[in-house]
Every structure is written in structure tokens, then in C-alpha cells.
């Protein structure tokens, strides 16, 4: 009844063929089978956002999708975004502004912030940044520095200075 299921997907641009147990969450698959441990596991019920990954171009909770559902999908993790340089400016701004301390939430924060910055035509307001990041918990920074960093990158990408 609970036989493994064969799936084929791309992860960070590379084709992956695997047999997965239906009950395995996507983030567990990425961490345990592919050793992509940049996506973190916090609450395991969709509240904290530490497991945020991209599936077919939009961010999702890695703990609320099953690996078996990702057959044929394009999955991207912080490792892929980091290697491609797509979020290099966000990463640098997080360092400059002390927008991370323990770093546990940071991969999820970066993916979520990147989605907001790619969506909006103009630079989003601080209120919009806070709203977009509202599903990503940080227990260190108090968020102020994270909003500062995202706002700085949003303005820089529009050719404006913060």
C-alpha cells in the first residue's frame, strides 16, 4: 500500500531520479536524500518558514509539500539561488546590516524576500516588506535589520540609494 513511488524532478537545474516514500516531505527529501541542508526544518507544520523553497518558480513551504508531489517539477533551494548569484546582493545586505544572528531563518528569509523583489515593479514599502515576510519567523533579530536589508536591496535594484 505504501510502496515507494518513482519521481523525476529537477533540483537547482540538475535532473534527479529517485524513489520516495509517499509520506516524505519535500524538505526532508532535499536534506536527507540530496544532502541539500540549506533549507531548514523548524516547526514542520507550516508556521515558521525556515523550510521555504521554490517549486516551479514560486515559494512554498517545504514541510507542506510531499516529495512525491514534485514529479516533473522544478525545485530550487537556497543552494541554487546562492550559486547562481541571484541573491548575492541580498546576502551581502543581510551581512552588512546584521540581519542574521544564528542564521537559521536566513535561507527562508532570502527566498521570500527575493520573491517580493521579483514581483514588485517599484520598490516595496517597509509595510509591504513586513507583510510579505510575515510568514517567516526570526527569533534573533527583531526583524528591524531584516526589513532594513530588504529595503536597501529593493532600492538599490531600482537604482536608488536608501
Amino acid at each position: 500500500m505504501t510502496d515507494r513511488v518513482r519521481v523525476a524532478l529537477t533540483v537547482n537545474g540538475e535532473r534527479v531520479d529517485a524513489e520516495v516514500e509517499p509520506r516524505q516531505n519535500l524538505v526532508d527529501f532535499l536534506r536527507e536524500e540530496l544532502q541539500l541542508t540549506g533549507s531548514h526544518i523548524g516547526c514542520e507544520h507550516g508556521v515558521c518558514g525556515a523550510c521555504t523553497v521554490r517549486v516551479d518558480g514560486t515559494i512554498v513551504r517545504g514541510c507542506l509539500m510531499l516529495a512525491v508531489q514534485c514529479d516533473g517539477d522544478r525545485v530550487e533551494t537556497i543552494e541554487g539561488l546562492s550559486d547562481s548569484g541571484d541573491v548575492a546582493d541580498l546576502q551581502a545586505a543581510f551581512c552588512e546590516r546584521n540581519a542574521l544572528q544564528c542564521g537559521f531563518c536566513t535561507p527562508g528569509m532570502l527566498l521570500t524576500a527575493q520573491e517580493l523583489l521579483l514581483q514588485s515593479g517599484a520598490a516595496p514599502s517597509r509595510e509591504q516588506i513586513r507583510e510579505h515576510l510575515s510568514g517567516n519567523y526570526c527569533r534573533c533579530t527583531g526583524y528591524q535589520a531584516i526589513v532594513d536589508a530588504v529595503e536597501a536591496v529593493a532600492l538599490a535594484r531600482q537604482g536608488q540609494t536608501p
Partner: protein, 280 residues
């Protein structure tokens, strides 16, 4: 926090999904999974089979037909939030959807899933009550339509029977005199509502007619406040607020006492009544 083992089947068609559900009484439909997968992870739900309907593209469309806007069950919240057809023809939904959880969850969670789950603190069931929507259900005996007023039966209980799949939601295209209002109070953005209110009415001779007030987070399901509706139709806002004491029976929990919820329901009614009055 890992799910108990289950089998997985990807439905190739709606008929296939219904046949799969028929063959396993404790099977669950997997749509967006944003409430089901947490329940699986916490082993609050331990089905033997998940029937994944995400491949059924015909359930993922928003269309206008015969004076109605039809929203497929698999339309994602983010898709509905951005839909110009919904903004134009069902603006109450455009107002409500940003209050649902967070962006990553709205990217995945589905319109039909939220209705089928019937969480008492969720936004969309109340919106459908306010809009007098019709809910299309497909099961082994064919297709039927259930009025929103008849659909929500209790705490996470609906008119869906075993082997039924919620397939679409139909909302009548509003006339030019239709007015809508929405407000919600939550401790943090995206949290479930302490109290929320979705409302609709029609401007009629300087007042309001056909008022529908659907509260959420204050009972075992989204609930219409019928005495308050009548009071608002007669133009008496204070009486409408007072009538909520009769219409609603809020509960106490760790987030707020019943008395607080009752008070906040009145606050929201005043705010939403102003939206109904002012939105021209």
C-alpha cells in the same frame, strides 16, 4: 512530526479521483495540502490513501458564464488574489484573500480546499456565505450544487459526503447597487482571525437591502448574524450591534475570551457597516 505511512495516487481525471475515493473509505483528497499536510505531520490525520487532484487542470480555472463567475476548486489563493475577473466581479474576495496566511501558503493553498475544510476561523467560508455562493460537488452519483447557507454544518463539517469532491464555486455577478465589506482582527498578520466579518448588501432607497453578515472565528463555523442583518436593513446600526449578542455565541480560548470576541464583533460590524455605506 513525520506523517504515518500512507499510499499515494495521482488522479488522472475527476472520475478517476472519485473511483479512488470510493475504493478507500478513509482516503483524503490532497489539494493544496496547506492544512492537510500539517494534520498529517502531527498525525492528527492518518488516512490509508491520499488522492492527489493537483493534476486536474480543469479544476484550476476562473471563468465567467451565465451571469456567474466560476472559480475552480484548485484555483490557488495567490491566483485568485491576482485575478482581474475576481477583482471586478467578486471584489469581496480580493479584499479578503490577503488576510489568508502568508505568501508561500497562498501560492499553494486552494480555494476549494479552504471551503472543503470549513475551518471556523477561515475567511473564505464566510465570504461565500456573504455572497450567497453555490458550491458544486461531484460524487459517484453525479454533480450537485449546494447553497453556501446549506453547506457548512459544524466544526470542520460540511455537506460533503464520502467519495465527494468539491469541484467549483459559483458566485452571481453583482449588480451596480451591490456593496461589500470585509474586516478581520488577528494578533499578527496572517494568523487565524480572532474575529472576522464578510458582508454584502444592496443600496436601496438611501438605505441597505439584502444585507448578509457572515462572521468567522466566533463559533463552530462561519455564521450569519440574521437579527443584525434585519436591524441594518432598517437602518439601525446600534440595534444591529446589540443584536450580535443574540446572533453569535463566541467561545473563549487562549487567544481571547468570549466577552472580548463579542465586543470585537461589534467593533467590526461598525467598521464594515461604514464600508457598505461609503463604497459607491
Amino acid at each position: 512530526m513525520k506523517p504515518a505511512p500512507f499510499a499515494y495516487a495521482k488522479a488522472r481525471s475527476l472520475d478517476h479521483a472519485i473511483a479512488l475515493l470510493d475504493g478507500a473509505p478513509d482516503a483524503r483528497v490532497l489539494a493544496g495540502g496547506q492544512s492537510l499536510v500539517p494534520a498529517l505531520n502531527m498525525r492528527l490525520s492518518t488516512p490509508s490513501l491520499l488522492v492527489d487532484i493537483n493534476g486536474l487542470r480543469e479544476l484550476g480555472e476562473i471563468s465567467r458564464r451565465n451571469g456567474h463567475i466560476e472559480i475552480g476548486a484548485l484555483v490557488r489563493h495567490a491566483q485568485a488574489e491576482r485575478s482581474s475577473a475576481i477583482a471586478q466581479l467578486a471584489p469581496l474576495l480580493t479584499q479578503a484573500i490577503p488576510h489568508i496566511a502568508h505568501p508561500a501558503i497562498r501560492n499553494r493553498g486552494t480555494f476549494g480546499g479552504s471551503i472543503a475544510l470549513a475551518d471556523p476561523a477561515a475567511e473564505l467560508p464566510a465570504c461565500l456565505l456573504a455572497l450567497g455562493a453555490e458550491i458544486e460537488v461531484t460524487g459517484r452519483t453525479g454533480r450537485r450544487s449546494v447553497a453556501a447557507d446549506e453547506f457548512f454544518k459544524g466544526l470542520f463539517e460540511t455537506a460533503l459526503g464520502p467519495g465527494d469532491v468539491l469541484t467549483a464555486i459559483r458566485i452571481a455577478v453583482p449588480g451596480s447597487a451591490a456593496r461589500f465589506g470585509f474586516a478581520e482582527l488577528a494578533r499578527r498578520h496572517g494568523d487565524y482571525a480572532l474575529v472576522g466579518l464578510a458582508a454584502a448588501g444592496t443600496v436601496h432607497g438611501g438605505g441597505l437591502a439584502d444585507v448578509r453578515l457572515a462572521f468567522f472565528g466566533v463559533g463552530d463555523r462561519a455564521t450569519r448574524a440574521r437579527q443584525a442583518e434585519a436591524a441594518l436593513e432598517s437602518g439601525n446600526l446600534d440595534a444591529a450591534v446589540a443584536a450580535l449578542q443574540h446572533d453569535l455565541s463566541p467561545h473563549s480560548d487562549v487567544h481571547a475570551s468570549a466577552a472580548t470576541r463579542s465586543h470585537l464583533a461589534g467593533v467590526l460590524l461598525r467598521r464594515v457597516a461604514a464600508q457598505l455605506d461609503s463604497s459607491t
